[in-house]
């Protein structure tokens, strides 16, 4: 693979097939099983040969019946492993291009404020509490992207490559380029935020937008309370009280994956958009079907909880953040599809 100036997480280019899983693998990690089987089979053979040549090591703990049963079990496991390997490789030969079959599909995020386009700093918007506001910063994580086909089959983008940081100030981040098996999909599902597993993974698993040198630089990670900030919106509003710098600003930094050693707030939100009304997406070879998704940031204020900037100019790691997350989890809607 050639080194591109920008890593895949930044360009959203997942053209490298190694980054993707075939549809059958969506939930089971089929490719992983094949590799594991390939590795495990010789190991099992060695293990069984080794056992046969050994005197009984612990006659008190394993009865002869059990040993026989274990042998059968091992042989069966070995057989099934072999089958998996054979089938796996056979499948590849029969269909030389599961990987070649993958086609382009793009998710395009467009952040808006009600019926207006979102313009950083210059746009003037009003929330349902009647407070006028403008937005200086908007960032959020989109992860764990899945598509549901008409037949109900699920395709999941490979976990490791399914983390994106949408930034209003970096237009390039708003386009997520994916490769999917061809077909018609009428649902897209993603997590707004970062799942709890990734929040607790060893540091070497935190790549791309999750790497501390990226997520922290972007201000999307709480180092003092280990965890990612899922959604960040800041701006100014006359309704906000004056802060120590003399500005009237509001700041929403929302995160919380449920806690590591003690339970706490969980603001991970799963979003599913039905594409069928505005047009299901038809992923075809030679086309780059694009799903246009709009995110209405005013929903952050105007939801089940009517969020007033005057009352809550700063919401970060607190109980109240749950209300903000519930509000913004409803901000996405499918605008249109270009097949």
């Amino acid at each position: 693979m050639t080194k591109s100036k920008y890593p895949a997480w930044k360009t959203g280019d997942f053209s490298n097939p190694a980054n993707l899983q075939p549809i059958a693998a969506a939930n089971t990690g089929f490719t992983v099983q094949i590799t594991a089987g390939g590795l495990a089979t010789p190991l099992f053979i060695v293990y069984i040969c080794f056992r046969k040549n050994q005197p009984e090591i612990a006659p008190n703990t394993v009865s002869k019946n059990n040993q026989a049963a274990m042998k059968i079990f091992f042989k069966m496991t070995m057989l099934s492993m072999l089958t998996v390997v054979v089938l796996g490789s056979a499948k590849k030969e029969d269909h030389p291009g599961i990987r070649n079959e993958l086609v382009d599909l793009t998710l395009e995020f467009d952040n808006v404020a009600g019926s207006k386009d979102l313009l950083l700093n210059s746009g003037d918007y009003t929330n349902s509490s009647g407070e006028s506001l403008n937005v200086s910063q908007l960032q959020y994580f989109v992860s764990n992207i899945k598509f549901t086909g008409r037949n109900g089959k699920l395709f999941s983008v490979k976990q490791d490559d399914s983390y994106f940081l949408i930034q209003e100030h970096e237009a390039g981040t708003q386009t997520i380029k994916l490769k999917v098996p061809p077909g018609e999909y009428n649902k897209v599902t993603f997590v707004l935020g970062v799942d709890s597993l990734r929040n607790t993974m060893p540091i070497d698993k935190r790549k791309g937008v999750l790497d501390p040198s990226s997520s922290m630089d972007n201000g999307m990670y709480w180092s003092w309370n280990s965890g990612y900030i899922f959604f960040k919106m800041e701006g100014t509003s006359d309704a906000a009280p004056e802060d120590p710098t003399g500005n009237r600003r509001f700041r929403f930094h929302i995160g919380g994956f449920g806690g590591y050693s003690a339970p706490t707030i969980n603001n991970i939100k799963s979003v599913t958009l039905d594409l069928s009304k505005q047009g299901a997406v038809k992923a075809k070879k030679g086309r780059n079907a694009t799903i246009y998704i709009k995110a209405d940031i005013l929903k952050t204020f105007n939801g089940v909880t009517k969020l007033s900037i005057a009352a809550h100019p700063s919401v970060m790691f607190s109980e109240y953040s749950v209300n903000v997350a519930n509000n913004y989890s409803k901000m996405f809607y499918h605008d249109r599809t270009v097949n």
Binding site: D204, S213, S214, W224, A262, T264
Partner: protein, 349 residues
């Protein structure tokens, strides 16, 4: 028979003369025999000589701070058991002040949570806090990595430690962990008495130890002298109303609880408490016998009939302090392997 004694004596002499050099040699992570199993998963980050030495160089390298003025070692001074001796709260870049006392870097392989509130749950994620915190080193991780890449020494050192010259966040954090994991304090007088290595407590220390076991040991559990729990020990909340563990869990039952700190090397880690409010061990014990405040979630162990705290006479107080001083580990405090000079000698010729 006599010959055997000679051999033993000669053997002992050899051991004694080599004791100094043993300290200078890297032996990898070794669990002290009187310690429990560590909780750090070494299989994910095995401590190697090269990894440890890279970690030590990083630990003392001021490039980790925004204006290259302070390193980790600035606020974690070896002679003070890697605390910021004399500073009540952390004193960082541009003379900025934090709100809590700089904790020791010691026996971290046994710790399952870091900082006074336990907000960080893995050692490999810990250094991200001081590096990026405004009042500490105030630097960006990407800039740290870029500065290290520009420095001629580092790519080679990263290669020696981790197999490739690439400098990443993960490798940087893991190297720092390797250094910190090696900061093991297990050779105090107390340890030598417990391991029956020929040292004995004085009568005063022994009585202090017995009192300690009656009155302090529940929270400051041997042999690490902490049970790693979060408790409210009844110090009056500061004006900044630091609610400690609550900040992390948002559970009101955790308000004003802080992690029970280890008492190892307590003699050299003044000032004490999460905000460094007490400058002497006498003051600390006075707090426990007469200063405990009945704030929310006060630890039940400090609730006494007719009052709060731990009853202790003046005489008992002195004995407990005498015992606490047996937890000072001079070998650790002076171990050249952990010192800044050692790092400079090796690389910055």
């Amino acid at each position: 028979m006599n010959r055997r004694y000679y051999f033993i004596i000669i053997g002992l002499l050899v051991l004694l003369t080599s004791a100094g050099t043993i300290l200078n040699e890297f032996t990898g992570f070794q669990k002290p025999v009187n310690f429990p199993q560590p909780v750090y998963d070494f299989s994910k980050n095995p401590v190697t000589k090269d990894g440890f030495e890279l970690g030590r160089k990083l630990f003392y390298d001021p490039r980790l701070s925004r204006n290259n003025t302070i390193g980790c070692g600035s606020c974690h001074i070896q002679g003070a058991a890697f605390t910021h001796h004399g500073h009540d709260v952390s004193h960082g870049i541009d003379d900025r002040l934090g709100s809590r006392n700089s904790p020791p870097i010691m026996n971290l392989a046994w710790a399952n949570a870091f900082f006074w509130d336990g907000g960080v749950f893995h050692l490999d994620l810990q250094p991200l806090v001081p590096i990026t915190t405004f009042s500490e080193m105030d630097e960006k991780m990407s800039v740290v990595l870029e500065k290290l890449r520009q420095q001629p020494d580092y790519p080679g050192l990263f290669k020696k430690a981790f197999g490739s010259e690439e400098i990443t966040s993960a490798k940087t954090m893991k190297a720092l962990s390797q250094f910190m994991l090696m900061c093991i304090s297990s050779n105090s007088k107390y340890d030598k008495v417990m391991r029956k290595e020929g040292e004995t407590f004085t009568p005063e220390e022994e009585e202090g130890y017995q009192l300690f076991k009656q009155k302090c040991n529940t929270c400051h559990a041997e042999p690490l002298f902490t049970d790693y729990s979060f408790r409210n020990n009844g110090v009056q909340p500061n004006r900044n109303d630091d609610r400690g563990r609550f900040v992390i869990t948002l559970d009101s039952n955790d308000s004003y609880k802080f992690k029970v700190p280890t008492l190892r090397n307590i003699e050299v880690t003044a000032p004490y408490m999460h905000d460094g409010r007490f400058y002497g061990l006498g003051q600390v014990l006075d707090h426990y016998r007469s200063g405990v405040q009945h704030t929310p979630n006060l630890d039940p162990l400090l609730e006494q009939k007719g009052g709060h705290g731990i009853p202790l006479t003046d005489e008992e107080k002195l004995k407990v302090i005498a015992f606490l001083k047996t937890l000072t580990d001079r070998e650790f405090l002076k171990n050249p392997l952990l010192s800044e000079q050692e790092g400079l000698l090796i690389y910055d010729k």
